[in-house]
């Protein structure tokens, strides 16, 4: 149903991703993980690395495959469709983007590790229940030879399994991006299971000793790196959410084609046809917006902020429409755990909150237009 033109390479990615996930990491596999209480899906990481996905946005000279954000978005969409649990967004996209754009020696050390699946990274940016990366009370203090990190970060996705964290903190008035090993003294992690069977940890930092070398970027440089990182995360997060929404919609269209009531297929009812067609139109246009946002990231255009925020905001609304309509049109059966709709709804809701919901990003667009 897509109108976006894909290159041959990109079409190959879609096909191989769809095949790979269907065979080993489908929704059935997700249910198995859930039943076993496994929120890490550790087995998938070497496979993702083997296919080059963990290095998808990392340039070849830094150990990745450098295929870019549009390609990464196609993978994320397939991950969304299959509800696949993986550290793709946290490690490959957020940390990959942060380390590549921060540059410097420390980035060069870690990017090949991320690409190879040798290390998992997580980004710790929030301190409250909503995404507000500008509100930072975590601090870096002390003299150069004895720096301390203090504070608390909330809802760090993949924080519980990460080998390294990238933490936002204030050093005086400067923003800092701090590389932190969660195993060292002073770091405590409190994992929490979220409604979508994904883990998000609260991480406490108490007089954690760090060095100047652990500061990936500071001041305006750190602002730039963080902006790029969050933009990438928003667009890829939206792409994953698009996959969830499309899967929910397709199951729903199928149901309309097969379920009988009053002696007819319920898809014959115009009340349902029109709602299904409206959903289809919304999915089509948000698809284009997300693809445009990803292209803007690849081109590093001036439109990155606007398009990634609009994509995240719009996808939140369309994702809700797709999952709510899915449950409603299925009727009672849609409320059961046996059907996938509830799984889609829960994942969709978590992705809406991830890196900012519709209200947060719409507010930015309004402010940018000076209203």
């Amino acid at each position: 149903m897509s109108m976006e033109l894909l290159s041959e390479d990109q079409q190959l990615i879609v096909d191989s991703a769809a095949g790979f996930l269907r065979d080993g990491h489908s929704i059935a596999a997700f249910r198995t993980l859930r039943a076993a209480g496994d929120d890490a899906n550790g087995a998938i990481l070497p496979e993702l690395a083997e296919m080059g996905w963990m290095g998808i946005v990392i340039p070849e000279e830094l150990g990745g495959v450098g295929l870019g954000y549009r390609s990464a978005g196609l993978i994320a969409e397939e991950l969304g469709r299959n509800l696949t649990v993986s550290p793709f967004v946290s490690s490959a996209i957020l940390a990959g983007t942060a380390l590549v754009s921060a540059g410097g020696d420390i980035g060069c050390i870690w990017t090949p590790q991320i690409a190879a699946g040798g290390a998992v990274f997580a980004l710790a940016v929030d301190e409250v229940a909503k995404h507000r990366p500008e509100r930072i009370s975590t601090t870096v203090t002390g003299a150069s030879d004895g720096l301390k990190l203090n504070g608390r970060k909330t809802y760090v996705v993949d924080g519980a399994i990460a080998d390294r964290l990238i933490v936002t903190a204030k050093r005086g008035d400067d923003l800092c991006l701090v590389l932190c090993d969660p195993q060292v003294a002073g770091v405590t992690r409190a994992p929490q299971m979220m409604l979508d069977h994904r883990n998000a940890a609260t991480v406490f930092f108490e007089d954690v000793a760090i060095s100047e070398a652990d500061i990936l970027a500071q001041g305006p440089a750190a602002e730039d790196v963080l902006a790029k990182t969050l933009a990438a995360g928003r667009a890829i997060g939206a792409a994953e959410q698009l996959g969830v929404a499309k899967a929910a919609a397709e199951q729903t269209y199928d149901y309309l084609r097969t379920r009988k009531q009053f002696g007819v297929l319920i898809g014959q009812f115009q009340a349902l046809q029109h709602r299904a067609a409206d959903l289809y139109c919304e999915l089509a246009q948000v698809s284009s917006l997300i693809a445009s946002a990803l292209n803007a990231l690849d081109e590093d255009s001036d439109e990155v902020e606007t398009l990634t925020r609009a994509a995240k905001a719009k996808m939140a609304r369309v994702g809700r429409q797709a999952t709510e309509e899915g449950v409603q049109m299925h009727g009672g059966i849609g409320m059961t755990d046996e059907m996938d709709l509830g799984l889609f709804m829960k994942r969709d809701r978590a992705l809406t909150e991830f890196l900012g919901d519709a209200g947060y990003h719409t507010e930015w667009i309004l402010r940018q237009r000076c209203i």
Binding site: Y280, T362, C370
Partner: protein, 392 residues
């Protein structure tokens, strides 16, 4: 030709040939529609049409043999970008370009293409579309205007309604039931005829905006020569459907062409003002505008993707209904927000103040967007059947 060479040549040519007066924002009254009765608003408007038509650039995608520019998809995009760069107005807009031309290119005979298309490209003949009838609106195929075969011509009798600019048009492309014994969809033919033919009359319909862009059109035993049929007898519905996809793409994408796209945010701030946090001093309106702005960015991205898709040689087919639905619903919201942002200033109807009620008139005009060319409900029905394959 190397595309960058084409770009620099085009840029230089436009710089040299586009009159300064044709590089300013235009209102609806500045549109050049062409045709026998058209009165140019300025010498510059006439000159701009002529130089563009000489180059085939009033219809850049059409073959050169038919008065077009013969440009590739990439070249068309470059031309559009370069025109936009200097804010050049479209030299000519017409139903001939948007609708009849594509239908003739697809279904017309070679002779018809050579005869009619260059006239459209040069703006010599202005066309109108005879589709809807009093008893055939959304149910268009139920049309009853009949064309009786009298040997050397069809004799056309009946009534059309909502014929855009019928009173200003030179010729009409018209759906007529020529095969009364055939089924609903297979009894219709696609005829072309001169609006000055004996038996044709028009009557403008006054709308809620006060304007009369639409007419009732009456045919009383109008003689139409038989070579003025496009395609085969009974093939009219197929051609009509093809043409409707072009109309829907056009309406869906046309908000910028038909409506002044003033800056909504700026207008709201100047009318309402900001509160002490720098936000529009109307939180509910502001929230609604935020959602609209996101949707506008989204639809623009979708149009961009769709354009690239079509330039790559794909047909939209039934998916033109998707653009039509999204674009027109969005434009209705845009116009409602403009009126809400302007307050009573935008409800002024007459006189010199506040642009003589143009905002209110645009707002009222926009209500037809989700009706004309197929209602939103018809669009959703088409999509649910043709694309989603839901049961009929």
């Amino acid at each position: 030709m190397d595309i960058e060479v084409f770009r620099s040549d085009t840029r230089a040519w436009l710089e040299a040939n586009c009159p300064a007066d044709m590089r300013t924002p235009m209102g609806e009254e500045d549109i050049c529609w062409g045709g026998r009765k058209f009165v140019f608003r300025s010498p510059a408007q006439k000159q701009w049409l002529e130089v563009m038509a000489d180059r085939g650039w009033t219809v850049p995608s059409w073959p050169k043999a038919y008065g077009g520019g013969g440009l590739s998809g990439d070249e068309q995009k470059v031309l559009a970008e370069e025109m936009q760069r200097i804010k050049a107005r479209p030299p000519l807009q017409s139903f001939g370009i948007w609708m009849l031309g594509p239908a003739l290119l697809q279904f017309g005979s070679e002779e018809q293409k050579r005869h009619y298309l260059p006239q459209i490209a040069r703006g010599e003949i202005r066309w109108c579309q005879g589709y809807s009838e009093p008893g055939a609106g959304s149910d268009l195929a139920g049309l009853q205007t009949k064309g009786v075969d009298t040997g050397d011509h069809f004799e056309v009798t009946g009534q059309k309604i909502w014929t855009s600019y019928a009173d200003k048009a030179d010729w009409i492309f018209c759906l007529v039931r020529t095969e009364p014994d055939e089924k609903k969809h297979t009894g219709i033919s696609f005829l072309l005829f001169d609006m000055e033919s004996a038996g044709v009359s028009t009557k403008p319909i006054k709308l809620i905006s006060g304007a009369s862009p639409f007419c009732e059109t009456f045919f009383d035993a109008v003689k139409v020569p038989k070579d003025q049929i496009v395609g085969a007898r009974g093939q009219g519905w197929t051609i009509a459907k093809y043409l409707l996809t072009h109309e829907r793409e056009m309406i869906g994408a046309a908000d910028s062409a038909l409506f002044a796209k003033s800056d909504l945010a700026e207008d709201a701030v100047s009318a309402i003002g900001l509160d002490n946090t720098g936000r529009l001093d109307d939180p509910m309106l502001r929230a609604e505008m935020g959602q609209f702005l996101v949707d506008e960015i989204c639809f623009d991205a979708h149009l961009g993707m769709t354009g690239a898709y079509m330039r790559a040689g794909h047909e939209l087919g039934a998916r033109s209904a998707e653009l039509k639905y999204l674009g027109t619903e969005l434009n209705k919201r845009r116009q409602s927000l403009r009126v809400a942002a302007g307050g009573s200033d935008d409800l002024v109807w007459d006189g010199a103040a506040y642009d003589a009620g143009q905002t209110a008139k645009d707002w009222l005009r926009s209500k037809a967007n989700t009706i004309e060319g197929g209602t939103s409900e018809v669009m959703l029905s088409i999509l649910s059947k043709a694309v989603l394959k839901l049961p009929g």
